[in-house]
């Protein structure tokens, strides 16, 4: 179903960037790294469309742009509708010989706000209609562009400016919406999660999302040092920890068939390698309040919920864990 092309470090180094330097993202910005990587995996002529958010704002300040490929921004909630319009136009223009390229791919980019929340209607509609495009959610777990407000993708216990940890409330009280599972439930051909530490896995998934006929959804973990109150030098490390703690497991669902990806499979087959969520939480200022006596119960809740979600995922992937003694 997919081409066997594997990405090597040499491939990446040699392929010209389509997301160029000079943009104004913060130091250590996870999403900016993710975008640069993603654009290394395109298969040919590609049109990118971007929801409003950090990545749009840092990279398109008129008259400058970081985009070396055609790029369109219209609004916050419209990434999928943009992609639908572009893809439809390309289809008919090709048919009428108004464009000469045989194949032009379409990638929609949106943050968690532009995906989980305000953009979900357009996304769900575009996927239901079966447009051929890859939707990339770069998940930095809050509305960063507008100053770190909560979203449906903000995890339990995180302190944001609209779910601040106060003396009465320990940050966000609600769980992260299982957005990728919601997309699988659409019956779409390709859904996957990825994390930039595992860059080869990420690139392969981008390419698969592009190659598949019909809509594809890629959920990419993207640390934001500014909003997470984390060390800008540790963004990639965090994107590894999130996988190792199974807070953000990596998997693919091809035609709704779940399959764990290699980095997470390690955790499944050697459960002793699975780290405690504490290790991931304690290096981020947004969870600092959870390490006080008043709120430390929540740490237990987060560990329990992470384990439950992990077990459910393993079940969906048809994996039974080896007994500890084996």
């Amino acid at each position: 179903m997919f081409s066997e092309w594997k990405f090597t470090a040499k491939d990446i180094a040699e392929k010209p960037d389509l997301f160029l330097s000079g943009h104004r993202a913060c130091a250590g910005c996870g999403p900016a790294t993710v975008l640069r990587l993603i654009m290394k995996a395109v298969r040919g002529p590609t049109i990118v469309t971007n929801a409003t958010g950090c990545m749009e704002v840092v990279a398109s300040i008129y008259p400058y742009t970081s985009w070396a490929t055609p790029w369109l921004h219209t609004a916050f909630e419209t990434a999928a509708a943009n992609a639908a319009g572009i893809e439809t136009a390309l289809k008919i223009m090709k048919k009428k010989s108004k464009i000469k390229q045989e194949q032009i791919d379409v990638i929609a980019l949106a943050g968690d706000g532009g995906t989980y929340d305000i953009g979900i209607q357009a996304l769900s509609g575009a996927v239901e209609r079966g447009h051929d495009f890859l939707f990339v959610l770069y998940d930095n777990e809050a509305y960063m562009n507008t100053g770190i407000q909560r979203s449906g993708g903000t995890p339990l216990g995180a302190s944001t400016t609209t779910s601040p940890a106060g003396t009465a409330i320990p940050g966000k009280l609600e769980h992260k919406k299982p957005i990728a599972d919601i997309m699988v439930a659409h019956g779409m051909p390709y859904v996957a999660t990825a994390s930039p530490y595992y860059w080869r896995d990420l690139l392969v998934k981008v390419r698969r999302g592009i190659e598949v006929n019909g809509p594809a959804f890629l959920h990419v973990f993207a640390p934001c040092p500014r909003g997470w109150r984390s060390d800008p030098a540790k963004s990639i490390e965090l994107s590894r920890l999130a996988v190792e703690t199974c807070i953000f497991p990596l998997w693919e669902a091809v035609n709704s068939e779940y399959q764990l990806s290699a980095p997470s499979k390690v955790m499944a087959l050697s459960p002793q390698k699975k780290k405690l969520v504490k290790e991931y939480l304690q290096v981020q200022g947004r969870f600092r309040h959870l390490f006080t006596p008043k709120y430390e119960k929540m740490l237990g809740d987060i560990q329990r919920i992470t384990d439950e979600r992990w077990q459910r995922l393993l079940k969906k992937c048809g994996i039974t864990q080896p007994a500890k003694t084996a």
Partner: protein, 410 residues
Amino acid sequence: MKSVVKQEVLALNGDEAVAYAVKQSDVDVVAAYPITPQTIIVEKFSEYVANGEVETEFVCTESEHSALTACLAASATGARAFTASASAGLALMHEMLFVTSGCRAPVVMAIANRALSAPLNIHGDHSDTMAQRDSGWIQMYVENAQEAYDSIIQAFRIAENLHVLLPVIVGLDGFTLSHTLENVQTLSDEAVKKFVGTRQFPKVMSHEGKTVPFRLDPENPMSMGPIALPNYYFEFKRQQEEAMRNALSVIQHVNEEFGKISGRSYGDGLLDPYMLDDAEIAVVCLGSTAGTVKAVVNELRADGVKAGVLRMRTFRPLPVDGIVDALRKVKAVAVMDRSMSFGGSGGPVFHEVRHALYDLPAHPYIVNYIYGLGGRDTSPTQIRQIFEDLRGIVQTKRVESSVKYVGLRE
């Protein structure tokens, strides 16, 4: 004017006339969402698609917001795009109307004009489009199904003109026009296709310093819809205003050109005066109401009353000079508004006409009549009364109340 091409008469309601015009206009993408009284446009077009009668991709979106967005994105890609809506649907598009005009995407949209909630009401008035007055779209209002057909065809030429590059709304009164059957003269497919032509693109400078066509083209990468800070934003807006000014003469020219092939034109394309040359009293209105007013004017003229009508076909851009010329010799003017500007001094059309006349050394008396909200019928008797009021104003040289309501329980 005489028609130079053969035409076929079809029995069509306003919505069907719109769909038929779109079918003939070599449109690449139609993205739309149904809402009364626009539904027939979408249904009819779906039928054309289902029967393979059009080379158009039809996207039945999950909302009007996405319908317009998809049209905008398709247009940015280089396609000719069309959508249609009304009332709540247009209100839901509000955000994207500004983005579409700001991106200079020449999308054409038919609006079957309908009241806005609450209370919920599916019938005709102009509240929906008037609320979008400042969204940067050209706005035209038609008098009958024939004009709906003709104007949609013209709209593509106007929108895509390189001196304009602005989206166009063609408004037809909900039910009165959208659902009423008329004999409509239609041009041949070839004649329409030739008239609308193929879409051209202006050449702009890309970020690589190359001169490239203004569209999303992988061979000539360009960023569209960027963020512009205070150092550039204002110039973008000023350019939109310039394009609106340019649209005035383009609309006139396209109206004239269309007349040459069809034998039909509508005033100068901007304003459609009737019996106005020697008129002492006149009514200004938009849309289908003009038909009723003209009938009353005919009766009054038979009685020797010098009455006339100025139908505003184009509301944005506002043809200020034409309004002044048309009304400068009139003694009293009644402006009819089919929407309200709550808390303002009268309706939006009144504001505009009164403003246009301000610079005249001596301007006519001017009064506002709010009428027909939520589909309320306006009868010839009521129009006669308006003219009667105007005669009274001329005689007494006094305007008692500048805003009046037609056929309203008070």
